[in-house]
């Protein structure tokens, strides 16, 4: 059975194949998990710059005079903290405070916002947003399949990118964005990222995809796949939807309590539950994990204390930077203190571990 026939392809698909990438199904797309080595790609991003095809992610345009009011109701973060040419990270939540998706929206004008959402949630998010318009002046356009997206991340990303663009990148601060030209081609560029390094995320019409990739490779970046994307974000301790946040975990439980804003006088979905969790705390919380015994922490492993199950691993893996296994787990709050000794059930063994502080690594 040829699985590839049933999967969607990004405009970079042929490039990935030509580079010998190992392809996997991710959110219904055939995506590169690695080109040569997850560890080498991870290290290239930490030392120079890597490019990631993230065209499988969703991109929406929200337009209309009521967009800000609409987003204030849908999002837990506060758009009063936003300004034109800036982006904001937020979750949108259900009434019970659990998460529909985490995403970033960019204020292009007070009646025009660009939103980037997770690949696995494109249809769900589009529906969720449209369901809540309810007569407001808001129009949402789904640009996901019309535009391509690349993440360009690493300490040398400014140095490599500057000669290719027609604006001064040094004036774009973290979370700010611009529209400019790369090699003469129009792009949207934001100083945001998911790796814990300085870098950019860019989006552009599909017709420019192959040329832009080629320009970035010539400038010195190396291709990096989804395997490295995951090990990088885990070191930087960024949440991954479906793991640290989902429709049964709230942002406060996930440690994203700072996203939950008071927004006085403004009602938003999940406000009561989330503000209460923020002031009173939650029964469970996400913490960092290390092993004391030898082994590798992986998603789903049970966390044990004194013979009782106290939680489970939400994300686990190997950290090339720290050269050891790291993980995040959702555990009962009484065990959340740094240094608490726990055990992790690794297949048929109980390995000794410990709660550690996070992030494991940041270099933004």
């Amino acid at each position: 059975m040829d699985l590839i026939i049933d999967l969607k392809k990004t405009p970079f698909y042929d490039i990935h194949l030509k580079l010998g990438a190992k392809m996997v199904d991710f959110a219904g797309f055939s995506m590169p998990v690695q080109y040569e080595s997850i560890i080498k790609e991870h290290e290239a991003v930490r030392s120079k710059a890597g490019i990631f095809d993230v065209s499988h992610m969703g991109e929406f345009l929200l337009e209309g005079s009521d967009v800000i009011d609409f987003l204030q109701y849908i999002m837990i973060n506060d758009l009063k903290l936003l300004e034109q040419s800036k982006g904001q990270y937020s979750c949108m939540c259900y009434e019970n405070g659990t998460v529909v998706d985490d995403l970033v929206y960019y204020e292009e004008a007070n009646d025009r916002f660009r939103m980037i959402v997770n690949a696995g949630n494109i249809e769900k998010d589009f529906q969720w947003l449209n369901e809540h318009i309810r007569g407001k002046d808001v129009k949402i356009t789904n640009l996901s399949s019309k535009r391509s997206r690349l993440a360009f991340q690493g300490p040398k990303s400014d140095e490599y990118l500057q000669p290719l663009v027609d604006i001064d990148l040094s004036v774009i601060n973290r979370f700010y964005f611009a529209h400019c030209k790369l090699g003469g081609m129009p792009i949207f560029i934001a100083r945001t990222g998911y790796t814990g390094e300085r870098g950019f995320e860019i989006s552009f019409d599909n017709e420019y995809a192959v040329k832009i990739w080629s320009e970035l490779i010539k400038a010195g970046a190396s291709p990096a796949g989804l395997g490295a994307r995951d090990s990088l974000r885990l070191e930087a301790t960024y949440s991954l939807y479906g793991h640290e946040i989902n429709d049964s975990i709230t942002p406060v439980e996930a440690g994203l309590f700072w996203l939950v804003k008071p927004k006085e006088g403004v009602d938003y979905i999940g406000k009561n539950v989330l503000l209460k969790q923020k002031t009173e705390g939650t029964d469970r919380i996400i913490v960092g994990l290390n092993l004391k015994d030898r082994g590798i922490i992986r998603d789903g492993f049970k966390i044990i204390k004194n013979g009782n199950e106290i939680g489970y691993v939400t994300s686990g893996g190997y950290s090339p930077t720290l050269k050891k296994t790291i993980g995040l787990g959702l555990i009962k709050k009484q065990f959340k203190e740094e240094g608490t000794e726990i055990e992790i059930e690794v297949r048929n063994k109980l390995l000794k571990g410990v709660v550690v502080s996070t992030p494991f690594y940041r270099n933004v």
């Binding site: 194949l17 010998g20 998990v33 080595s37 560890i39 082994g295 590798i296 893996g317 190997y318 296994t325």
Partner: protein
């Protein structure tokens, strides 16, 4: 069109269809995983080796090989007792990727039943299995 990867399979070794290789010298067998297996697994980050002196039957799991994204098992190609394990893999698990037949070896076995050697695959038979898996 998928990029065809050329794997290396030394002709003097014997193989298992579960992608182990075996080097036999008198009554001692050295075992590791093939170039195909290391490529399938990806970057190896940890290998859990058996204790010296333990006896295993042909076909049992003797080691766990963890890569960034997956866990593989080393299957005993022949029955016997563990004589030696590659302790270098504790600090250099990546040797399994860079030198699967050399510094990436995993265990040395003292054989208990040399007749089992006849059941091992030649390099040609193993290569056919790999081709079939790649198709």
């Amino acid at each position: 069109m998928v990029n065809i990867i050329e794997h290396e399979f030394p002709s003097e070794l014997k193989y298992l269809q579960t992608h182990e290789w075996v080097r036999i010298q008198d009554n001692i067998a050295t075992v590791g995983i093939t170039d195909f297996a290391q490529h399938q697994l990806g970057d190896i980050v940890y290998v859990e080796l058996p204790e010296i002196g333990m006896a295993f039957d042909k076909g049992s799991n003797v080691a766990e090989i963890e890569s960034v994204k997956a866990v593989g098992e080393l299957i005993m190609p022949l029955s016997g007792k563990i004589l030696e394990v590659n302790t270098d893999l504790a600090d250099n698990p990546e040797s399994v990727n860079s030198s699967p037949y050399g510094s990436g070896w995993m265990v040395k076995i003292e054989l208990s039943n040399k007749n089992e050697i006849n059941e091992l695959l030649s390099v040609e038979a193993y290569q056919e299995i790999v081709e079939a898996e790649k198709a």
